[in-house]
C-alpha cells in the first residue's frame, strides 16, 4: 500500500488530522500528524473521538482499522510542541488548558477523549513507532493488533518525567501480564514487535510491507461475521468490567437472548 499522504502544489503536507475512509463495511481511521512520526495534538484527540463515534453509530460499518498516515510510523504519541505557531514547547498553561479542554472531560467529568471504547471491533495496524499516547489509544480502542517486524512499542512518558495516568487511560492493566506492563511504564523502554507478541500486546507479527494488507484481510474476515453478535460480545465485556460474576452473567445472558431473538426475526 502506498503512502497515503497528500501534498499541495508546493509539496507541503495537506493535513486531514484524522482520516476516515469507508470501503465495504470497513472504516479506516488514520492518525495524520504534522510529520511522518504522526504526533497527536489535543485537536486530533477530539477529532479521533468524533470519528470513532461516527464509526460506532453507522450500522453499515462493521469493523475499523486504526493506523498512522504514511508507511513509516503509527504514532510517537502526544505532541510536545506547538506546531501551528512555529517550533516551541507546550507551556505549563497549555498543559493545564488541555486538562480543562471540553474535549478532555465533559461537564459530568466523563472523559470524552479517553472513555470512548468502540463497541465494534477495531484492528490496529502498526509499523515503526507506536509510543506513549499511541499505545494508550491502542489499548483503549483496538481489539486486534497486527504489527510489522520492525514495529516498536513503548510507554516512554516516564523517560520524559511525564506520566501518572498512562496505564489508567490505556486499559492495558486488564490486557497484559502485570510484570510486562510494569516493565513498559517503570523503565520507559521500548520493546520490539516480537516482545509485544510475547506479552500479548499484539496478535501477529508480519513483514513490515504486509501490515496494512494483513490488517485489511483480518478486517474482511471480521466484517463477514454477524455484526450484532460481535457487538454484543464486546458490549458484554465492556459493561461487566466492574461487576461481580453474578451480575456479569445476567448482562451476558440478556445480550445473548437479544442476539438470538434478533437472528430469528
Amino acid at each position: 500500500m502506498g503512502a497515503r499522504r497528500k501534498r499541495d502544489e508546493e509539496g507541503q503536507l495537506i493535513r486531514m488530522p484524522i482520516g476516515f475512509e469507508v470501503e465495504n463495511h470497513i472504516a479506516t481511521i488514520t492518525i495524520d500528524g504534522y510529520n511522518d512520526m504522526n504526533p497527536i495534538t489535543y485537536d486530533m484527540y477530539a477529532e479521533l473521538y468524533r470519528r470513532f463515534l461516527e464509526f460506532d453509530g453507522d450500522p453499515d460499518l462493521h469493523v475499523a482499522i486504526l493506523r498512522g498516515a504514511g508507511d513509516l510510523h503509527f504514532s510517537v504519541g502526544g505532541n510536545m510542541k506547538v506546531f501551528q505557531e512555529g517550533a516551541g514547547l507546550l507551556s505549563d498553561g497549555d498543559w493545564v488548558r488541555g486538562f480543562w479542554h471540553p474535549a478532555t472531560f465533559n461537564i459530568q467529568g466523563r472523559s470524552t477523549l479517553y472513555n470512548h471504547r468502540a463497541v465494534k471491533p477495531v484492528i490496529g495496524a502498526y509499523v515503526g513507532y507506536c509510543l506513549g499516547a499511541g499505545v494508550i489509544l491502542s489499548g483503549l480502542r483496538t481489539s486486534l493488533r497486527i504489527a510489522g517486524e520492525h514495529a516498536r512499542f513503548g510507554l516512554v512518558e516516564t523517560k520524559l518525567g511525564l506520566g501518572g495516568g498512562a496505564i489508567a487511560k490505556s486499559g492495558l492493566a486488564a490486557q497484559l501480564p502485570y510484570s510486562a506492563l510494569m516493565w513498559l511504564i517503570l523503565t520507559g523502554e521500548m520493546i520490539d514487535a516480537q516482545a509485544a507478541k510475547r506479552i500479548g500486546l499484539v496478535n501477529e507479527v508480519v513483514p513490515d510491507d504486509q501490515v496494512f494488507a494483513r490488517a485489511k484481510h483480518v478486517a474482511e474476515i471480521v466484517a463477514e461475521l454477524p455484526p450484532l453478535t460481535l457487538r454484543a460480545e464486546k458490549e458484554a465485556l465492556l459493561h461487566t468490567e466492574n461487576m461481580q460474576s453474578g451480575q456479569a452473567s445476567k448482562v451476558a445472558l440478556a445480550l445473548e437472548a437479544i442476539t438470538q431473538l434478533g437472528r430469528a426475526l
Binding site: 472531560f105 516516564t158 520524559l160 511525564l162 501518572g164 495516568g165 496505564i167 487511560k169 510484570s179 510486562a180
Partner: protein
C-alpha cells in the same frame, strides 16, 4: 526468591536483611529450611514492614528483593548500612503491604510457597536465572491457603498457569514463567543480581514518574474506568507541572540525557 543459600543452616531463624545503597533499598530473604528451600510464612510479614519503611523514606526510590547472599557488588561500599531485623510476631496472614514505589525481584533457584507469594504480591519487574522454578509447593501448608489470591497472581498470569501451580501443585520453569508473563527476563544464574540491580538503577533515575503511574494503578484499582482516568489525568498534569517533566522535555529537545531530581 533465591532460596538455595549455602550459608544458612537449620538453626537459623528465617531471616530478612535490609540495606540501603544510595536511593535503592536492598531486601534479602532467606529460608529457615535449606533442604526444602522454603521461606517461613512469617517472613512475609517482615518484608511487609520493610516495604512500608522503604515507601516512607523520601531518599529511597526503588527496592530490589532477592534471596540472601547474592553475589553483591555493593557489599564493599562503605556507605551501605546493614540492618538485621530481629524475629517478630507478625502474622503470616496479615495483609501484605503493597509499596507504591517500584520493586524489582532477583530470582534464583526455586521460588515457591511464600517466596512466590512475595514475588507476585509486592514486585513489579522480575529477573530470573535460567534454573529458576516457580510454584506454590506440592503440599500447601495451611497457613498458605489462599496463596493464589494473596500473591495477586490471579490478576497477573493466565488462569490455567495459576491453577497448574496452585491446584495441581506443579512448578513452572523459567521459560514457561517468561512465556506467561510471570517474569520479564531470563539471564544466566550468576547474572540475576547484577541485572536486577542495573534495572533498579535505571528506574531510580526516572525518579517520580514511575511512582506516579504505580500510585494511580494501585489507588484506582477498584475504581471505574472513567474515574481512574480522571484521577490519572490529574496526577499526570501535576507531574507535568513539576520540574522533572520540564527537564525531561527540555532534554528531549536538546537531544541530551535528562537529570531528574524527583520534583
Amino acid at each position: 526468591m533465591r532460596l538455595q543459600s549455602d550459608t544458612s543452616n537449620k538453626d537459623d531463624q528465617s531471616r530478612v536483611r535490609y540495606r540501603n545503597d544510595g536511593n535503592l533499598a536492598l531486601i534479602e530473604v532467606c529460608g529457615l529450611d535449606t533442604a526444602a528451600n522454603i521461606i517461613e510464612p512469617a517472613t512475609i510479614g517482615k518484608v511487609s514492614q520493610l516495604l512500608s519503611r522503604f515507601d516512607d523514606d523520601p531518599n529511597l526510590r526503588v527496592a530490589v528483593m532477592s534471596g540472601l547472599d547474592p553475589p553483591d557488588p555493593v557489599e564493599e561500599n562503605s556507605k551501605v548500612s546493614i540492618t538485621e531485623l530481629p524475629p517478630d510476631g507478625s502474622n503470616a496472614l496479615d495483609p501484605i503491604y503493597r509499596p507504591v514505589k517500584p520493586v524489582v525481584a532477583a530470582i534464583n533457584g526455586r521460588c515457591i510457597e511464600a517466596g512466590l507469594i512475595l514475588v507476585g504480591a509486592v514486585t513489579d519487574i522480575r529477573v530470573a536465572g535460567r534454573s529458576a522454578t516457580f510454584g506454590f509447593g506440592a503440599e500447601l501448608r495451611s497457613c498458605l491457603v489462599g496463596a493464589a489470591i494473596r500473591s495477586r497472581l490471579n490478576k497477573q498470569i493466565p488462569y490455567v498457569t495459576l491453577t497448574w501451580m496452585a491446584l495441581a501443585g506443579q512448578e513452572c520453569d523459567a521459560q514457561e514463567a517468561l512465556r506467561v508473563g510471570l517474569i520479564n527476563e531470563i539471564v544466566a544464574d550468576q547474572e540475576v543480581w547484577p541485572r536486577a540491580l542495573a534495572i533498579a538503577k535505571q528506574v531510580a533515575e526516572l525518579a517520580l514518574a514511575p511512582r506516579a503511574e504505580k500510585e494511580t494503578l494501585i489507588g484506582m484499582e477498584q475504581a471505574h474506568y472513567d474515574d481512574a482516568v480522571f484521577y490519572g489525568s490529574a496526577v499526570g498534569l501535576l507531574n507535568k507541572l513539576g520540574s522533572d517533566a520540564r527537564e525531561g522535555i527540555a532534554a528531549l529537545n536538546e537531544k541530551r540525557s535528562p537529570e531528574f531530581r524527583g520534583r
